[in-house]
């Protein structure tokens, strides 16, 4: 699958000097990152499955009539960014004036400076083979600049549209200024029901006392998706990540957060309801580098027949990171004997004054609770729905914004309705 000459060509053909430098460096990272594949993808046979579907990993740059894509955006959206097959379509996007969104290659030299310490510096492309390939194959990095003290109400939606039978690469870099507060909601929309593949790598730099809400939802039928989000937090910053996954032939999410200074706060929430022989893998890591930071992680999921869930949560607490608080939990409900979950916490702690807890559970629907509800006249189907949606509420309850929360609650209800087809 990893055709070295194809990758070399991509590096050769790069015209932008800085980008070419990044690609050259990444080419050298192919071997080391491939070494980790066996361990990091133990339960997710990603390469084996996509090898059969794709002969080449070269990207596609075909784009159809823009109107066709505009139709995919609901009327209710106020601010949205449309990216098709990796290319930003500014013409059909609706951008708030407060933030600057541009292709990296189109930036002036001074503006590039802002992103140079982040772009391909904070991602996991020396560790995860898919990020490495993204670093080599992406066409243009989309940069988001939020100036200091910018506070935006509501959310900005990012529509990543995959409309190609060749692999598609999305690449983004965020710079969130001091004292700013913003919310993004990212979606991946495939124009086919099966066999498309997209690979997305995002790097987010959060300056002092900034606040970010970042939502991702994935419901991609029988398509493939790799998503790596890498976050670099400065002191007093707060991040809230919400990842909702419903279907996909294979979805692999990497969420890596580095708390590089004091008093950072990172919240990572996830909910998955996996159906139709889907395979959803969430790998997260949080790295406490400096003292007095808090990380709080809770992923919950419901897995239906013939589907697979994988959760791996790494917590690192470095020697300097005294007074760290790190919590992690992963709870699963299996709806059938043929549903599978592999869940694993991985803690490495070098500091001594640390509060750390973790717990994983895998269980069935509570039969006693089901009988209790049914004994009051509620049908099995509705009783199941009540219990399943109750299971999701402690995740959605964490969404601060009421509109966004309702939106995701409804989305989950609809998915549970489908899951619960008995």
């Amino acid at each position: 699958m990893i055709d070295a000459s194809e990758l070399k060509d991509s590096v050769e053909n790069e015209n932008d000097l800085v980008t070419k430098e990044i690609k050259t460096k990444s080419l050298k990272n192919i071997a080391p990152s491939f070494k980790n594949y066996r361990e990091e993808y133990k339960y997710t046979p990603f390469i084996r499955r996509i090898e059969k579907k794709f002969s080449s990993f070269n990207p596609s740059s075909d784009i159809k009539n823009h109107e066709e894509y505009r139709e995919l955006i609901p009327d209710s959206e106020k601010y949205y960014i449309v990216i098709v097959n990796g290319s930003f379509l500014k013409q059909i996007s609706s951008l708030p004036v407060e933030i600057e969104i541009n292709n990296y290659k189109g930036l002036t030299k001074e503006n590039r400076e802002i992103f140079n310490s982040t772009y391909s510096k904070t991602d996991d492309s020396n560790f995860d083979i898919f990020s490495t390939i993204n670093s080599i194959q992406h066409q243009n990095c989309l940069t988001f600049r939020i100036n200091k003290s910018t506070v935006l109400d509501g959310k900005i939606s990012i529509y990543n549209i995959v409309d190609s039978k060749n692999p598609v690469y999305f690449r983004k870099c965020f710079h969130i200024g001091k004292n700013s507060k913003v919310s993004f909601s990212e979606k991946f929309i495939y124009t086919s029901h099966e066999s498309y593949f997209s690979n997305s790598v995002t790097e987010i730099f959060m300056d002092e006392n900034s606040n970010l809400n970042y939502f991702t939802d994935q419901n991609i039928n029988k398509n493939y998706h790799y998503n790596s989000i890498n976050v670099f937090q400065k002191k007093d910053s707060i991040s809230n990540f919400h990842t909702y996954s419903f279907s996909g032939a294979i979805i692999r999410n990497n969420l890596n957060i580095k708390l590089t200074e004091k008093n950072c706060y990172a919240n990572m929430y996830g909910f998955y309801a996996i159906k139709n022989s889907s395979h959803i893998d969430n790998h997260t890591s949080v790295d406490h580098i400096d003292e007095s930071s808090i990380s709080n992680e809770h992923y919950k999921g419901i897995v239906d027949k013939d589907s697979n869930g994988v959760f791996n949560g790494k917590i690192y607490v470095r020697q300097k990171a005294q007074k760290t608080n790190a919590f992690q939990a992963n709870n699963n409900i299996l709806l059938s004997d043929s549903a599978k979950v592999n869940t694993k916490p991985q803690l490495e702690i070098w500091a001594d004054d640390v509060k750390c807890s973790h717990g994983c559970t895998v269980g069935q629907l509570d039969e006693d609770a089901l009988f209790y509800l049914m004994s009051r006249g509620i049908s099995r189907k509705d009783a199941t729905s009540l219990l399943l949606s109750a299971f999701s509420t402690d995740i959605t309850d964490k969404i601060e914004d009421e509109d966004i929360r309702e939106n995701y609650e409804l989305m989950i209800l609809r998915e549970l309705e489908e899951l619960n087809h008995e």
Partner: protein
């Protein structure tokens, strides 16, 4: 109304009910007493339709039809209600929300229009008063963090909401202080009519001072071994179950 004949039930191959007969008519109150582990809760669960139990022989008729093919939800819609000995805690589902679903599904099954939000609230207020339960408790997750007495009160509240034909109260008096016992008993008595019947499972004669039974049955080792009127309960309290064993 309820006709149980030669009922045999087991769980995981352990025989628990071993040829039980019981007949309850509309307007009656029956009390079932018996030592721990004799099968009282099992009987209640089997009537309510818990699927973990295998009914290996015998039959249960309710209102003229056989129950064996009906699930617990269908039995509830036919008018059977079980107040659990150990009510389950269900995080994330409020009693209010749950009762709204339940009441409307039962109404729908009986060809009645569902209640809208206002009508439901009115019904709830009325029934809350009956068992003296606070709104705050009902908007919390079902039974989660409730005291023992609050859980039992919640059971009777649900019974009041659903107005069943046959109510089975499994040790609803256990864990209640004397005031709560009065409140719960008043609730049960207020709902009593010529059309419905009540079966109370209890260890204590004192409950029967409040909910006066027409019949008292003694359940031992999976069978009803003795039946009588309310004086049987007094006699049992005085002499214990050994008295019956000896007599048999």
């Amino acid at each position: 109304m309820l006709e149980i004949k030669n009922l045999h039930a087991s769980i995981d191959d352990t025989k628990i009910l071993k040829g039980l007969n019981l007949s309850v008519s509309a307007g009656e109150v029956h009390a079932i007493m018996g030592p721990n582990g004799s099968g009282k809760s099992t009987l209640a669960s089997v009537i309510a339709g818990r699927e973990d139990y295998d009914v290996t022989d015998g039959e249960i008729n309710f209102g003229g039809s056989e129950l064996s093919d009906l699930g617990p939800d269908e039995r509830a819609r036919e008018g059977i209600f079980l107040a659990f000995q150990y009510p389950v805690e269900i995080p994330g589902v409020s009693t209010t929300n749950f009762m709204k679903t339940a009441v409307n599904q039962v109404r729908e099954a009986n060809g009645e229009k569902p209640l809208d939000a206002v009508q439901f609230l009115k019904l709830m207020k009325e029934k809350m008063k009956l068992v003296n339960i606070k709104q705050e408790l009902l908007s919390r997750s079902i039974n989660e963090g409730f005291s023992g007495g609050e859980k039992k009160r919640n059971e009777i509240f649900q019974m009041a909401m659903l107005e069943p034909k046959l109510a089975i109260l499994d040790e609803t008096d256990s864990g209640l202080d004397i005031d709560a016992l009065k409140i719960v008993s008043n609730g049960v008595n207020a709902l009593k009519s010529n059309e419905n019947a009540t079966v109370v499972v209890t260890h204590y004669q004192r409950l029967l001072d409040y909910i006066v039974p027409d019949f008292v049955h003694v359940l031992m080792d999976g069978k009803i071994v003795k039946s009588g009127d309310k004086n049987l309960a007094l006699e049992l309290e005085e002499k214990g179950y050994d008295w019956i064993k000896v007599k048999n």
